[in-house]
């Protein structure tokens, strides 16, 4: 291990200290000689007491030893190269950064970094091959019961869990690339896994090939912004019991089962894209027992089911676009007081499907490409209401196998008959003011 101190940094520190000392009254009488003498003493102090020193590790050296020898506020700088290490425990506020992405190979043994201190920064490092266990959730980088930590611009490759935060708050996970080539859900962990955390920022990360891309359980007041989560084996984003969180500008694409949101209140999902989630149990967005949520300006494109809601209460679904989905939305009978307003429904096989003849949800001012009414008073809204639930979608809900009759003459006959004399379709599931043209301003 090479340990050295960087001159420029210590110089800046000295200047800071000088200003502090020069403020003292007895200082003005000192001569130039004393000034130099004092500066020399200060440098010695910095090194000996370990104030903000830089510790360099280069290939062949031990990162673990460097971390142990560091003191609070120090910077451990890892030079380019490859290192085989695991079980590095960081229990003091230091910064660990890499130059040109040094690679740390965990060799399948436990965790690479375990952080147990506030204000730790880990930046610019490539972490590969952390351990796998069926009993313990090993992660390449775990933060336990800490606050103010920053995980930035790292590359994580082929790990069980990627970044794992437990019992932590006010941490930032920014611009990391987390890639695994897991083949089954069973042997893979989650890319970014948060458990019992508060006020966390997850921003600008790319996650692919994990079990769930981003997983939240008991996480509050957190923001998930500008991430891209794709080709994960189960869910692109999955959260449970996580209230007051915001999800904005993310892309969830081609994940095994899409995105799942469960048992959560006061969540905002804005400007996200839910795309290409195909399969019998795949949903663009699956909502299960959610209340008081806002789902706005999202794009649901090419999913088996765009939006599935079971037990959703007081959910506002506004200004979204649903295009080319099998089912744009499935809103089950136990959803109450939801508002579906100002959305575009374009090129979906079914626009709205439900399993009940009762409905307490409001559908209003949406654009339905299947609407063929007219607008005589030219106010932009059709003069005859639109019923988005087709008779056939109710039949399919009861007997999925009947789907093979889709686009057959008998099905069209069925739909027309139900339109003339509605019996099965919920009476109140109706858009009284369907828009005549596509709404702009949706993503």
């Amino acid at each position: 291990m090479k340990i050295g101190t960087q001159n420029t940094r210590n110089k800046t520190e000295c200047r800071g200290k000088k200003a502090f000392f020069s403020g003292l009254p007895f200082n003005s009488a000192y001569s130039a000689f004393h000034n130099i003498y004092r500066a020399a003493i200060l440098i010695v102090l910095f090194v000996s007491q370990g104030w903000a020193k830089d510790i360099y590790v280069s290939q062949g050296g031990s990162i673990g030893d460097a971390v142990i020898s560091s003191g609070p506020g120090d910077k451990v700088i890892i030079k380019k190269g490859s290192y085989k290490e695991s079980g590095i425990i960081i229990d003091k506020p230091i910064e660990v950064t890499g130059e040109d992405y040094p690679e740390i190979d965990g060799m399948g043994k436990g965790e690479i970094f375990t952080v147990r201190s506030d204000n730790v920064t880990i930046k610019g490092i490539k972490l590969i091959n952390c351990g796998y266990s069926s009993m313990k959730d090993f992660a390449a980088l775990k933060i336990e019961n800490a606050s103010g930590c920053r995980i930035e611009q790292n590359k994580l490759l082929n790990n069980f869990f990627g970044i794992y935060l437990a019992g932590s708050k006010k941490c930032e996970i920014i611009s990391n690339e987390i890639i695994s080539n897991a083949v089954s859900e069973i042997s893979s962990g989650n890319g970014i896994h948060l458990w019992k955390c508060d006020s966390i920022l997850v921003s600008g990360n790319i996650i692919t090939g994990h079990r769930d891309g981003i997983y939240f359980e008991f996480v509050t007041h957190s923001k998930v912004l500008n991430n891209r989560s794709e080709k994960n084996i189960r869910y692109g984003l999955h959260f449970m019991f996580s209230n007051y969180d915001d999800y904005e500008n993310n892309v969830f694409k081609n994940n095994g089962a899409g995105v799942a949101v469960m048992y959560t209140r006061y969540v905002k999902m804005i400007n996200n894209r839910f795309e290409d989630n195909w399969g019998p149990n795949a949903y663009g967005l699956l909502l299960k027992d959610i209340s008081d949520a806002l789902i706005q300006h999202n794009m649901f494109h090419k999913n088996t089911t765009g939006l599935y809601s079971e037990g959703g209460t007081r959910i506002n679904i506004l200004n979204n676009t649903f295009s080319e989905n099998g089912w744009a939305s499935k809103i089950l009978g136990n959803c109450t007081d939801d508002t579906v307003k100002l959305n575009n429904f374009i090129g979906n096989t079914f626009d709205v499907s439900t399993n009940s003849s009762r409905n307490t949800n409001l559908f209003s001012e949406n654009y339905w490409d299947k609407y063929n009414g007219y607008d005589l008073n030219k106010d932009g809204a059709g003069d005859v209401p639109f019923r988005p639930v087709s008779m056939f979608s109710m039949v399919v809900e009861e007997t999925p196998a009947s789907l093979f009759l889709l686009r057959s003459f008998i099905v069209e006959l069925l739909d027309v008959a139900e339109k003339v004399v509605p019996v099965f379709i919920p009476e109140s599931l109706i858009d009284e003011r369907p828009r005549m043209s596509e709404l702009r301003g949706t993503k």
């Binding site: 009993m135 089954s184 859900e185 069973i186 189960r234 095994g256 799942a260 469960m262 048992y263």
Partner: protein, 142 residues
């Protein structure tokens, strides 16, 4: 698959059916069943199989009356110490430990042998429970 259905329908046994991890959905929470240490199953007297990703989902299903206890022919849970293996839930030993998280947040795990449960408890903490205590905790009407 059809013949398999027929066999199940006619056999009327309450034997467990293995869980196809990664492909089957939990009946209650709709999640894909994927954590091989957890999972549960109720087989009714008529042979219908209800699968869950966690024992707490089975318990909640029972307490919410989605499955009636009088219809149940057998209860099964995954042995956390022997992943993917379904065992008799009534005879299993249970651990509730926050540090050993289960898929639906209850921290509930099941074990065929009490010694395994105690070993995990030693590592992760928590409380050991019996089937009857678990039923009580989840307010399942017997």
């Amino acid at each position: 698959m059809f013949s398999a259905l027929l066999i199940t329908a006619f056999s009327c046994s309450s034997d467990p059916e293995p869980i196809n991890f990664g492909n089957e959905q939990c009946e209650l929470c709709k999640m894909t069943i994927s954590d091989i240490k957890f999972g549960a199953e109720v087989v009714t007297k008529k042979g219908k199989v209800h699968k869950f990703d966690a024992a707490e989902c089975m318990m909640n299903s029972l307490s919410q009356g989605k499955i009636k206890t009088e219809d149940a022919g057998g209860y099964y849970v995954i042995d956390a110490a022997n992943p993917k293996n379904l065992i008799d839930a009534v005879k299993a030993a249970y651990l509730i430990s926050e540090k050993f998280p289960s898929p639906m947040g209850a921290g509930l795990s099941a074990f065929a042998n009490k010694t395994d449960a105690e070993a995990v408890q030693k590592n992760f903490g928590g409380e050991l429970k019996s089937w009857d205590e678990i039923l009580l905790k989840f307010k399942v009407n017997q």
